[in-house]
Amino acid sequence: MRFRWLYVLLFGASAIPFAAGCSGCGSAKGDPNTIKIVSSLPRTGSAKAQTDTIVNGIKMAFDEAGNKVEQFKIEYEDLDDATAADGKWNADRETANAEQAVKDPDVMIFIGPYNSGAAKFSMPILNRASLLMISPACTAIGLTHEPGDPGEPGIYRPTGKVNFTRVVPADDIQGPVGADFAKELGVKTVYILDDTEVYGKGIANVFKERALEIGLKPVGKQESLDYKQSDFRTLMARIKRDHHPDMIYYGGTSQTGAGQVAKDMVAEGLGDKILMVPDGCYEAAFIQAAGRDIFKTLQCYVTFGGMPPDQLTGKGKEFVDRYVAKYKVQPEGYAIYGYESGKVALEAIKRVGKKDRAAITEACLGIKDFDGAIGKWSFNENGDTTATTLSVSKVDGPTGDFKFVKLLEKKK
């Protein structure tokens, strides 16, 4: 123990900040005229094509404002909350991104996340820092209002204040309208599957509730898939033999095996039935994973909490035109929500006119009758949008794209 003094010193040193109580820690000041906005989206894995267009949308919003609001220069950084190993979002990365945003004194707004499951991890961290979140895509109910899991949404708001907003309608609207539409299609029985995730299981559950209400019969036991499996053929064979439903509803995303579900339906002789999936599959990656050829026989409907890019009118259409002119490719479904998030972010900063996280958050929640690209809408006191336009599209095999079917409205 020749170096005992070193160890003593070490423990002594670690005690200093504890003894001092660490007053006035973390009081770094950034550049007073720069406001940084970060986004945290899954930029690796099959959601990348979708998030590429969201990021493009966000950038367009900033570019059109000249990257400037009042006296502030706007800086934007695009963070990744996914890893290649998972192929989708990862709790570790999302937490790290949130911490990074909190620590950076210039960051005033956090756009994201894309996945509701990820939001559960970043919300409490950002809430403590009163940092405004604007999600272009999270639709799970419990993030903003009841009824979610027990304790939701309070457990995400340690300060008791709201800091999470979203520009898309929640699943308590999307799930039920999906069920209503299925009934319109003449479906009598449905087999419901989910991917065990916050979003997928949540939307499958509300779909089921509504189905029971309107006399659409869920058959068999709702199964949760282990989406890392290479195939679900036995499951599909069993569904065909034991339950022969008119339709299968899969509460999941293209990152959690939706493509394989579609494929295995066809492979096990359920190709003449209907598959319905929620907006997590409203992206080219879903069709790429399933393969265009199977949609010759399989009818696949995708619900979406908004209007498809080619059906937008007014400001929305102008956005799509500008987008196509700039990027030479059609935007995916969520691009316009990225754009809208960017716009709302700038509006909130404009209203406050100073670099203050809490004030910006409050201003954003106070935005009413915002005349944006998706129409005129407001935030309610939970941070939810009042826009409730939803649509359903069908996968079109020959073009390998989604084809608009109709608008959906929430029925009472």
């Binding site: 170096f3 070193l6 160890y7 010193l9 070490l10 423990f11 040193a13 670690s14 200093i16 900040p17 504890f18 109580g21 660490c22 820690c25 973390g26 770094a28 950034g30 930029r43 690796t44 990348k48 990021v55 950038k59 950084e77 695009d78 990744d80 890893t83 290649a84 190993a85 998972d86 990862n90 709790a91 570790d92 937490t95 790290a96 911490e99 990074q100 620590k103 950076d104 499951g117 559960k120 991890f121 409490p124 961290i125 403590r128 820092a129 899991d149 027990p150 304790g151 457990i155 995400y156 340690p158 065990t196 995730e197 916050v198 299981k201 949760s224 282990d226």
Partner: protein
């Protein structure tokens, strides 16, 4: 030369440096401005992984048993912590402010106990068969965590885990200032290192090494190899559980079960192999290289590339996209040219 090198207690110097980092005023803020990354905020993750890797080192390094499922015990520690501290369970209310200490103790003990129960039947297996059984256990545990939503909340994970209470004052702002977790995890890491340092030079430590070098000979010399192996498993898993408990506190939740699968186990093993199996200093170096690569180097490089390109380019232009190739090549090269790691363990007679 080598004598003088040996004379310096590198571990202590490293720890002292780490302890000094947050004390230098504005250093972390400056680095944040320079790199865009809260390095101080990411360090607790390194310290936690260091504890995990040191735990694995007890099994793989000291005793020479290849373990591919340490991530499961990391997860068990995190989930025990979750069960004890989230408001959805009653313990949160009955334990009050003692829940931090209780979860620390129970996560460690729980993981250790479970490890003994699970590994007792497989002790007679050797080498790669044992490795596979541990791998299988790891995956079964991950599936159990996933598929029992009544207990573990499935893929949602248990949250929120509140910030540590007693013995720390309630007014400490754990989420707001990185230094609290920094010193907490560093402090526990230092204690673990000190314990292991003593253990290595004890009768027990020498017996473990004897088993690693030649189990038959060790048994002939009167070493009870089964009991000692079980002890190694228990200690390794206990440290992993401890790391898991700290991780859950740091993350404010248990994250989802996939966080505790094969990827985590192999990451910890990677730290050992690159740094030097059986050598505490080597393990610390390995953690710095491997976890530092993921947590610090990759984000800095990615952010730099993004700024130079003006946008997030295609995946293959991202530094983090090549992580598997880098780790893979590192493993192959180290095995070929320095099979005992960068800092090999001393093997004296």
């Amino acid at each position: 030369m080598s004598l003088r090198y040996r004379a310096i207690p590198w571990t202590a110097v490293l720890l002292a440096l780490a302890a000094a980092y947050p004390l230098i005023p504005a250093l972390d803020d400056q680095l944040m401005r320079l790199t865009g990354l809260p390095i101080g905020g990411r360090m607790p993750k390194l310290f936690i992984y260091a504890i995990l890797a040191l735990g694995l080192n007890v099994v793989v390094g000291y005793t020479g048993l290849l373990h591919l499922g340490i991530g499961a015990f990391f997860g068990i520690g995190a989930y025990i912590t979750g069960i004890l501290t989230v408001p959805a369970y009653p313990f949160h209310y009955s334990l009050g402010t003692y829940e931090f200490l209780a979860s620390l103790a129970l996560a460690t003990l729980g993981a250790a106990t479970l490890s003994v129960v699970l590994s007792a039947p497989v002790l007679r297996l050797r080498g790669d068969y044992l490795a596979l059984v541990t791998l299988g256990f790891g995956e079964v545990v991950r599936f159990a965590l996933r598929n029992l939503p009544e207990i573990t909340a499935g893929t949602k994970g248990l949250n929120p885990v509140p910030p540590p209470g007693f013995p720390f004052p309630a007014e400490w702002n754990w989420g707001g200032d990185y230094r609290f977790f920094y010193f907490l995890t560093l402090g526990i890491l230092a204690i673990v290192l000190w314990l292991l340092w003593n253990l290595e030079r004890s009768r027990l430590g020498r017996a473990w090494v004897a088993i690693r070098e030649d189990e038959l000979a060790a048994t002939c010399m009167g070493v009870n190899s089964a009991k000692l192996k079980l002890l190694a498993f228990a200690l390794g898993a206990g440290l992993a559980g401890l790391a898991g408990c700290l991780y859950a506190h740091k993350q404010g939740g248990t994250a989802d079960p996939d966080q505790y699968g094969f990827n985590t186990s192999i990451l910890a093993l990677l730290c050992l192999i690159l740094g030097g199996i059986g050598n505490r200093k080597g393990v610390l170096l390995g953690v710095l290289l491997v976890v530092g690569f993921d947590e610090i180097l990759s984000p800095i490089m990615d952010s730099y590339i993004q700024r130079s390109l003006g946008q997030a380019g295609p995946e293959y232009l991202r530094f983090s996209g090549w992580r598997l190739a880098v780790f893979g090549l590192a493993l192959i090269l180290v095995m070929r040219f320095r099979p005992e790691g960068i800092l090999p363990a001393r093997r004296g007679v």
